[in-house]
């Protein structure tokens, strides 16, 4: 696959080289000239471009024919802004086409360069899929563009759809002077809208034409640990409401049960099984004694099938329909909905009822209850009806169906009983016909995702040392460790551990790296032995200084900017560490760093030092709760992490007796 990516990269490079010279006299359309004449406010120097006009005009026909015209103009504020001089228009090969795509580059002096069909590159949208109907047409003016120029494009796309709704972003991260979305509906139809990440935007209505507009949107800066841009940029969702008695293939939804019913129609027939599938399910669970064990046995099997995505018939809802469970079973591969659907079929074969669930992977706040639409989801998991004897942290209560065990059949690093961190606390749709509902996904507490670390170090009077580090991961902490372990070959993993140790211990030589994955218990263990000839520094042959925090925490947040615009998003984290240092003979502790104890609404930290005979015991504990901290409390959260960093760098001073 890497080769394919390289090939594609090379090809784009070739295309750039082969862009023919174009006539410079082509005139830009009036809308673009007007947009280019606008003055924009002054922005921070980091802002690379400003969108002058972002507009989408959608005309919907009763027969499902949809024509979309896009107008886009951007002024490049810096040389790096060249990357925005690019038109990217997606389309589906089976049900859609790009009817027109033109772009223009306007130089500060007014000279215009036109880019037409000769400059269009047509490419796949996702090189990772074996097949996907979604493609893009691209015009890039990046190699011609520079600061001060205005790039604009106009596209017209056509599609035949079954979806009677649309969603649209008023901006991406760039500041945007004017953003407008217009939908023109058939006579007698109406539109309903929901605005996300912004106060409600009311449309201007003229007959059956609806128009939503926002002006002067500020830039959205990229900051570490900030919310996803999908949770910051204003977004619009529009549902088309057909006229009474209209004969249209366009599907709209008035509530989540509607969505559930429609998706159930797509999913349920695909869950049919055959003898081979049933036999396999029974074979897998032959030695299982409990409901949970049966679920675990089938869950492990399905998770280990190859992930392969083949999307066909997307414009007709094919992207939401799983392949038949029997087909997925026979080929031993599939995507998330295929796996969820297969698991459902296999569970049914052993007498357990399960449902598929639609969820959004990547931003737990993305799915909003106020807009009932299948387009809010990009992933599929399983909800398994369980009895009271099955106890797990990922069981949720459904008002009618009772206890449902939530499980991701695609993530093979997260076993039954846990849920990937990225999915916790998000809203997901249970696809269960009339019983379907939007459910809040469970959240596991930091303590169940903890890392416990024990270290023993023997320090010698010449500064050399030998040490052992024992790490015990649980829950999502174990999932992270497991993912790292699985993603690398064993030599690469050993190298990664060696780099981690030598980052804290200069010249460390590792004699043992022993990872142990206990996926059934969702635990992971790592034991490392090493030594170093020069860990502590001997001063004047009298003082010996060393840092008791031998190895770094696996993840450390560094917030260094003086100010902050976006909230700080923290994930749950729990670390407990004890380091026992056997002190060298003839040395006493001369000075110890000050202990530290911090308590904040989002977490706590404690570090302490204690001398017990010839041992120094250093302990640190850290607990972070999942939290979104508003920017006005930035100084508090920054100070919290700065004080931890300073403490963990502080050395211990030993003095020769």
């Amino acid at each position: 696959m890497n080769m394919l990516k390289r090939l594609i990269g090379c090809t784009f490079f070739l295309l750039l080289l082969s862009v023919p010279a174009l006539a410079g006299s082509d005139e830009a359309p009036l809308w673009l000239r007007d947009a280019a004449a606008q003055n924009a406010p002054a922005y921070d120097r980091q802002v690379r471009a400003v969108v002058l006009r972002r507009e989408q005009n959608v005309t919907v026909s009763e027969d499902g024919h949809i024509v979309t015209t896009t107008l886009y103009a951007v002024r490049l504020l810096t040389r790096e802004g060249r990357e925005y001089a690019r038109a990217i228009v997606p389309y589906l090969t089976e049900t859609g086409k790009v009817r027109e795509l033109n772009a223009w580059l306007i130089r500060p002096g007014g000279a215009v360069k036109h880019y037409g069909s000769d400059n269009v590159t047509d490419a796949i949208s996702d090189p990772n899929d074996v097949y996907n109907e979604l493609r893009v047409k691209v015009i890039s003016a990046a190699s011609d563009a520079d600061a001060g120029m205005v790039f604009g494009y106009q596209s017209v796309t056509e599609e035949r759809s079954v979806f009677g709704y649309d969603d649209w972003n008023f901006q991406d991260r760039l500041p945007t002077l004017a953003a407008r979305y217009t939908v023109n509906l058939p006579s007698g139809w109406s539109a309903q809208s929901v605005t996300f990440n912004h106060s409600k935007v009311e449309p201007a209505v003229s007959g059956t034409s609806y128009s939503w507009e926002l002006d002067n949107l500020p830039p959205i800066a990229e900051e570490p640990a900030s919310p996803e841009v999908t949770n910051l940029a204003p977004r619009l969702a529009v549902s088309y409401v057909p006229a009474q008695g209209a004969n249209t293939p366009l599907k709209t939804f008035s509530n989540w049960v509607d969505v559930s019913r429609w998706l159930s129609e797509l999913h349920d027939p695909q869950a049919a099984s055959n003898d081979a599938l049933i036999a396999k399910a029974r074979e897998l669970t032959a030695n299982s004694h409990t409901e949970l064990e049966r679920i675990q046995a089938i869950g492990r099997y399905v998770q280990h099938l190859q992930y392969i995505s083949i999307d066909i018939g997307v414009g007709r809802g094919g992207g939401l329909r799983p392949h038949a469970a029997t087909e997925v079973f026979a080929k031993s591969y599939g995507d998330c909905k295929d796996k969820a659907n297969l698991m459902r079929a296999m569970l049914k074969a052993v007498g357990i009822t399960a449902y598929t669930m639609a969820i959004y992977l990547g931003d737990p706040t993305y799915v909003r209850e106020e807009w009932a639409s299948p387009s809010q989801f990009n992933h599929c998991i399983v909800a398994i009806k369980v009895g009271d004897e099955t106890q797990a942290a990922t069981v949720v209560q459904h008002p009618k169906l009772g206890r449902l065990l939530i499980f991701d059949a695609t993530d093979d690093a997260t076993p039954v009983g846990d849920l990937p961190q990225e999915e916790q606390n998000s809203l997901a749709l249970l696809i269960a016909g009339d019983q379907g509902a939007l459910l809040r996904m469970p959240v596991t507490p930091p303590e169940s995702n903890r890392l416990e670390r024990q270290a023993e170090m023997t320090l010698n009077g010449d500064g050399s040392m030998s040490a052992s580090v024992h790490e015990r991961f649980a829950g999502q902490s174990a999932v992270s460790a497991r993912r790292e372990f699985r993603a690398l070959s064993r030599p690469q993993y050993n190298q990664r551990i060696e780099e981690w140790i030598t980052h804290g211990v200069q010249g460390a030589r590792l004699s043992r790296i022993e990872p142990t994955d206990q996926i059934n218990e969702n635990r992971f263990a790592l034991d490392v032995d090493f030594n170093s000839l020069a860990y502590a520094q001997l001063m004047q042959n009298r003082l010996l200084i060393f840092k008791p925090a031998i190895v770094s925490r696996h993840d450390s947040l560094v917030l260094t900017e003086a100010s902050r615009r976006q909230p700080v998003v923290l994930g749950p984290y729990a670390l407990t560490e004890t380091v026992r240092v056997h002190l060298p003979a003839n040395f006493d502790v001369d000075e110890l760093p000050d202990p530290l104890k911090l308590d904040a609404p989002f977490g706590s930290y404690a570090a302490s030092y204690e001398v017990k005979g010839d041992q120094l015991v250093f302990t640190r504990t850290m607990t972070l709760r999942a939290a979104t901290i508003p920017p006005e409390q930035y100084a508090t959260v920054r100070g919290f992490f700065e004080r931890i960093l300073a403490t963990e760098q502080a050395p211990v001073v030993l003095a020769r007796r």
Partner: protein
């Protein structure tokens, strides 16, 4: 000089990538080879322990006997050992398509999975998807993609296909012998075109296997137990460490390199002559440019400065020319054209410099050189594949000097590091002349850093910093920055500093001489680093090596597969002045011991106290003396030891004590 290799070469590279990514090989018929039950039941790799998957065999049959097309038949069989191996090997993409008049077709794909229990799952034709990856301007890259069915650890997967390269020959085809997974056996069958030219193969970095005569006009070559290439820091270029073979045709005898290169030299000379012609305009220009200069060195420097100052370099990234602008430019046919137009490509500028030098009476040759970033070349290999025009050689006394004014960032007298220390062919009518280009000594590529800082009682360090880069270090910095906006250059600096001092805050940033070829590249800024020094009880602990703070050791792993390679020799000179907080004094003033590794490297630190409250830290370091930039794997431990020792010394910490008396 200069120009990147042109489009067809790039396409060939793509083709090579294709060949590498998709196992080549071939079965002479359309049947699958029998599967050894032992292979099916095996659970451990043969070639490399811990491998996730291993190719049992990889066969390619290349047939160049037809006039029109070059045909490859590929066949690979892979044993999957782990889940990771299943994931990596289950999906197959076979690219093909059309770029300009180069076109590749893929035919007759067949694939199957043999599960550990012996059941066989054939890939259905309907499960092979043809995708257009990208299409535009006569370029159409497609792929046939499929997922192997029913793969699990323990499975064997195998697939084969036919690849037709339309209207192409096998000349300069690269035969790869290593993949991303280990391979037990790689076998190529080669059937050359019988047109009177002789097919030759050259093996790089492996034992040259015997070319065995097979049936039907084929020759075969086999290698076994081929491990994949694993990346390591500071390793030689990939073509220098992996095993591969170049297949080529030549009518010229290659067994005697002197004869081969002599013929090449003469042929090139015929091409170059008109491009470096010293006509009256050139002669007059040379005389004007040289003016009152008297020594050869002065004369050449004047000519160098003349072409730099009077000819706009249209190849320069910072020229302000867009892709469209460049396409509109007329090409210069001669040095006289270049003078007349006052602009030209980097190549035009080099040729003009050569013509001017010739007009001034110097013996001038165009130099063909390999790229040290690609491979370490030996003239014993009689093939033009690796060399191309790179600079102009001028004889001064008995010494050949090399110049490349067309590369706008090079100071007078230096070459790009990629062409330094390389055997270079000087083109001339008298035949081949090989001269080794000199390598710049460490002192020519130097970073000189100065910091005047003040330490606060809470451990914050604050003050002014200046960093000056010369030689290759300056070129690297200029290349990194010259296309960027001033804001982006500042951001690059901030990222660079924060990568090893995460709490650093920078202000008053000045970045100088980004596009000036002669002056050093300079960073100057004010810095504030909260938490730089650590406090424990009555002491503050301070690392005086401010510029090395936060860096890890260069070599972190104890094992090494490949030689250690540095691009060029370099040196460092640091002066750090730190004013101590009131009431604190140095507890001790020990400095790390000096170190040296013969003429290859030396490290020295001096620490002094001035006025009882200011630490003066001076550090010097150089590496690569005696042109030592390549170290065999057997010396890794020693090299690591040197850099570990430098790192330890750089981490040397000073203790400051409240109320103590300063010591020198």
């Amino acid at each position: 000089m200069f120009l990147p290799r042109f489009l067809p070469t790039l396409f060939l590279t793509l083709v090579c990538l294709l060949v590498l990514s998709t196992p080549l090989a071939l079965a002479d018929d359309n049947d699958w080879k029998p599967v050894d039950p032992a292979e099916l039941s095996s659970t451990t790799p043969v070639v490399e322990p811990n491998a996730d998957a291993e190719a049992i065999f990889w066969e390619v049959r290349m047939d160049d006997s037809q006039t029109e097309d070059l045909i490859f038949k590929h066949y690979i069989r892979i044993k999957v050992f782990t889940e990771r191996g299943r994931e990596a090997q289950s999906k197959v993409d076979i690219p093909f398509g059309k770029i300009s008049h180069y076109k590749i077709r893929i035919e007759d794909i067949a694939a199957r999975t043999i599960r550990p229990d012996g059941t066989i799952i054939e890939l259905k034709k309907s499960d092979i998807f043809e995708r257009t990856i990208v299409k535009a301007n006569g370029v159409k890259i497609k792929a046939k993609s499929f997922a192997m069915p029913g793969v699990e650890p323990g499975s064997i997967i195998e697939y084969r296909w036919r690849e037709v390269r339309e209207n192409q020959s096998a000349n300069n085809v690269r035969l790869e012998f290593q993949r991303d997974i280990p391979v037990r056996s790689v076998k190529y069958y080669l059937k050359p075109f019988a047109n009177g030219e002789t097919m030759r193969v050259q093996t790089f970095h492996g034992n040259s296997p015997e070319l065995v005569k097979e049936r039907n006009g084929f020759y075969s070559v086999t290698m076994t137990n081929m491990k994949p290439v694993h990346e390591e820091p500071n390793m030689p270029p990939e073509d220098q460490v992996k095993t591969w073979m170049l297949l080529y045709y030549t009518p010229i005898p290659t067994s005697n390199p002197a004869i081969y290169w002599g013929l090449v030299s003469k042929a090139f000379d015929e091409i170059i002559k008109p491009l470096m012609k010293a006509d009256d305009r050139v002669k007059q220009t040379a005389a004007t440019a040289i003016g009152d200069a008297t020594t050869p060195e002065q004369k050449l420097q004047r000519l160098y400065e003349y072409v730099r100052a009077n000819v706009k370099n249209t190849s320069d990234d910072a020229s302000g020319l867009t892709a469209e602008d460049r396409l509109k430019l007329k090409s210069n046919k001669s040095p006289s054209d270049t003078i007349k137009r006052g602009q030209g490509t980097g190549q035009d500028i080099d040729l003009l410099f050569g013509a001017l030098a010739k007009a001034a009476g110097f013996d001038v040759r165009v130099a063909l050189a390999p790229d040290r970033n690609q491979i370490f070349f030996s003239p014993e290999f009689s093939n033009l594949y690796f060399v191309e025009p790179s600079s102009v050689a001028v004889k001064v006394g008995d010494v050949w000097r090399f110049f490349n004014p067309g590369y706008n960032l090079l100071p007078f007298g230096m070459l790009r590091w990629q062409e330094e220390g390389e055997e270079t062919l000087l083109v001339g009518e008298s035949g081949a002349l090989w001269v080794k280009t000199p390598m710049s000594p460490p002192e020519l590529s130097r970073v000189t850093r100065k910091a005047k800082l003040r330490l606060l009682e809470d451990g914050t360090l604050e003050g002014d910093v200046r960093m000056e880069y010369t030689g290759h270090l300056a070129i690297e910095k200029k290349e990194e920055n010259d296309e960027d906006s001033p804001q982006q250059r500042e951001d690059t600096l901030r990222e660079m500093i924060k990568s090893h001092m995460s709490t650093a805050e920078l202000s008053n940033i000045q970045i100088e001489n980004v596009t000036d070829p002669a002056k050093p590249f300079v960073y100057a800024f004010h810095i504030r680093v909260p938490g730089y020094a650590q406090k424990t009880g009555r002491r503050l602990f301070l690392q005086p090596a401010f510029f090395q703070h936060g860096f890890g050791a260069l070599f972190q792993t104890s094992d090494r597969t490949y030689p250690v390679y540095f691009h060029f020799p370099w040196s460092e000179d640091d002066n750090v002045e730190i004013e101590l907080p009131g009431g604190y004094a140095l507890d001790h003033a020990e400095a790390p011991a000096p170190m040296s590794a013969g003429n290859v490297s030396a490290y020295n630190v001096k620490i002094q106290v001035a006025d009882e409250h200011t630490i003066l830290y001076h550090r010097t370091f150089f590496f690569g003396g005696g042109e030592s930039i390549l170290f065999p794997t057997t010396t890794y431990s020693a090299i690591k030891q040197v850099f570990d020792a430098v790192h330890t010394s750089d981490e040397h910490t000073l203790a400051l004590r409240q109320g103590a008396t300063a010591s020198n």
